[in-house]
């Protein structure tokens, strides 16, 4: 049995926001595949839970009138991976989604929960960084939309105000249209493992030159990071293997890799360089370019 002192199961978002505003000490539970495991390990003892599972429509994936793809915070990873809109427009997010956990976990775990945990290893986070995604956050008072990169405050910490819920992830048209993308998760096992390093690259190629390149790294620093130096360097340059190698070297700039029991700092830095090369090369290929040396 889980050490839960109370369980709130609102039926509407408005009700959830009202309960959370009045009881900001509640722990929000989405899919439960992290919260319940932490409880099983003895943390969060005696917590009161605010479950979002009974709220309809919070798991929907849709394209808005302006071409923005909206992914409901309660969308489970399997749904994201299998969804027609994601397959067609943002396959790189599907690739990241299917790399997370195992099938039974992906059937329940939600993208919103993955982000709100603040884990630097979240497979969806580095990809959403690269896609320039926005987050729609709501309280009982109102809503705000913030860029993904303003969301992470530190390891396991995110910028949610008391009583604030993540409602949807928004991927603007400019974030994905005409872009080739690739996500590489590096972990000792292919399933049921946490990334030692995650690299997401998306790029737009014209006449074999980088019109735009965006790179997101997971587990390279205390929070997911974008590689702006590498991205600026790439802009307008012809795609060559040397160029990709330089991009990968510059991708180390925002990294603050550290040693942990999973991997040493040196190993992680090696991975950042090598995996960025591979991710960018594949993204280029999918974007219609070629970087054969």
């Amino acid at each position: 049995m889980f050490d839960i002192c109370e369980l709130c199961e609102p039926e509407t978002l408005a009700e959830a926001k009202a309960i959370y505003a009045a009881n900001p000490e509640l722990k929000v539970i989405a899919g439960g595949t992290d919260v319940l495991i932490r409880m099983q390990h003895g943390s969060l003892a005696g917590a009161g839970l605010l479950s979002l599972r009974n709220i309809p429509h919070l798991d929907e994936i849709e394209m808005l009138a302006d071409g923005t793809i909206s992914v409901g915070a309660m969308a489970p990873f399997t749904r994201i991976f299998e969804h027609e809109l994601i397959r067609k427009h943002v396959p790189v997010l599907g690739e990241a989604s299917v790399s997370m956990g195992g099938p039974q976990v992906r059937n329940i775990a939600t993208i919103g929960g993955n982000l709100c945990n603040g884990a630097v290893s979240a497979d969806s986070a580095s990809t959403l960084f690269a896609l320039d995604a926005l987050l729609k956050l709501e309280t009982a008072e109102g809503e705000r939309i913030i860029p993904m990169r303003d969301f992470y405050a530190g390891p396991g910490k995110v910028n949610l105000l008391p009583g604030e819920l993540l409602v949807a992830i928004l991927i603007p048209r400019e974030g994905y249209e005409g872009m080739g993308g690739h996500y590489i998760k590096f972990a000792p096992r292919k399933a049921m493992d946490i990334a030692t390093l995650g690299v997401a690259a998306v790029c737009k190629i014209r006449e074999n030159r980088f019109v735009e390149l965006r790179i997101g790294l997971g587990v390279a620093a205390p929070v997911p990071v974008r590689c702006f130096e590498a991205e600026d360097y790439a802009k307008g340059r012809e795609v060559t293997w040397e160029c990709v190698q330089e991009i990968a070297r510059l991708a180390l700039k925002p990294a603050k890799a550290r040693s942990s029991w999973r991997a040493s700092k040196d190993y992680r830095e090696h991975l950042i360089e090598v995996l960025t090369q591979r991710a960018v090369a594949e993204a280029v290929k999918r974007g219609g370019g070629c970087c054969a040396d």
Binding site: M1, F2, C5, L7, C8, T33, I37, G102, A191
Partner: protein
């Protein structure tokens, strides 16, 4: 809406679901996992308790046809849903084609993972989709076989999928 436990205010809840096709109505404690309810209260002991943290897949059940780890799923969330455990597959002592495939391939050793892998394979077969070799492996990747007999498990799943496909061709709907 508020289900309090602290002062014993209201920690119990009525749960209505179907288990293996039969309607079940039971009063549960909100702190119970679906695994607790299925195994300890309803005696479906084919639902195994392994790691308790969603890693081994021994507690896998089908929830509206989808495999989930019942150890990290609150029982209350199953309200109104259809649950299938390994006990729900064979009818009148007759194994399902998926179970037959596991027997025929010798894909069973100690039995720790068997209920789970059979249910995940059943979900694949019932989805009516085609799966590549890599996709079969991916769909079974949330199960730990402690005997390490993965090859035969994958063989059995592929056999079940192949035979379901042949059966579908013979009886077009």
């Amino acid at each position: 809406m508020l289900t309090k436990n602290a002062a014993g205010v209201k920690a119990r809840k009525r749960l209505c679901m179907t288990v293996n096709g039969r309607a079940v109505e039971i009063e549960i404690d909100i702190r119970e996992s679906l695994l607790d309810v299925l195994r300890d209260r309803l005696q479906f002991t084919g639902v195994k308790q392994g790691c308790s943290v969603g890693e081994c897949g021994a507690c896998t059940v089908l929830l509206d046809g989808t495999p989930v780890n019942s150890c990290i799923y609150l029982a209350t969330w199953a309200h109104g849903k259809a649950v299938v455990t390994i006990e729900g597959l064979a009818q009148d002592g007759k194994l399902t084609p998926v179970q037959e495939a596991f027997v025929d391939e010798g894909a069973i050793q100690c039995g720790f993972c068997t209920p789970g892998v059979v249910l995940s394979t059943t979900a694949m077969v019932d989805s009516g989709k085609c799966f590549t070799h890599d996709e079969v492996r991916r769909e079974l990747s949330g199960h730990l076989c402690r005997c390490t007999g993965y090859q035969k498990i994958v063989d059995a799943a592929e056999r079940a999928l192949r035979e379901a496909d042949i059966a579908a061709d013979e009886h077009p709907v």
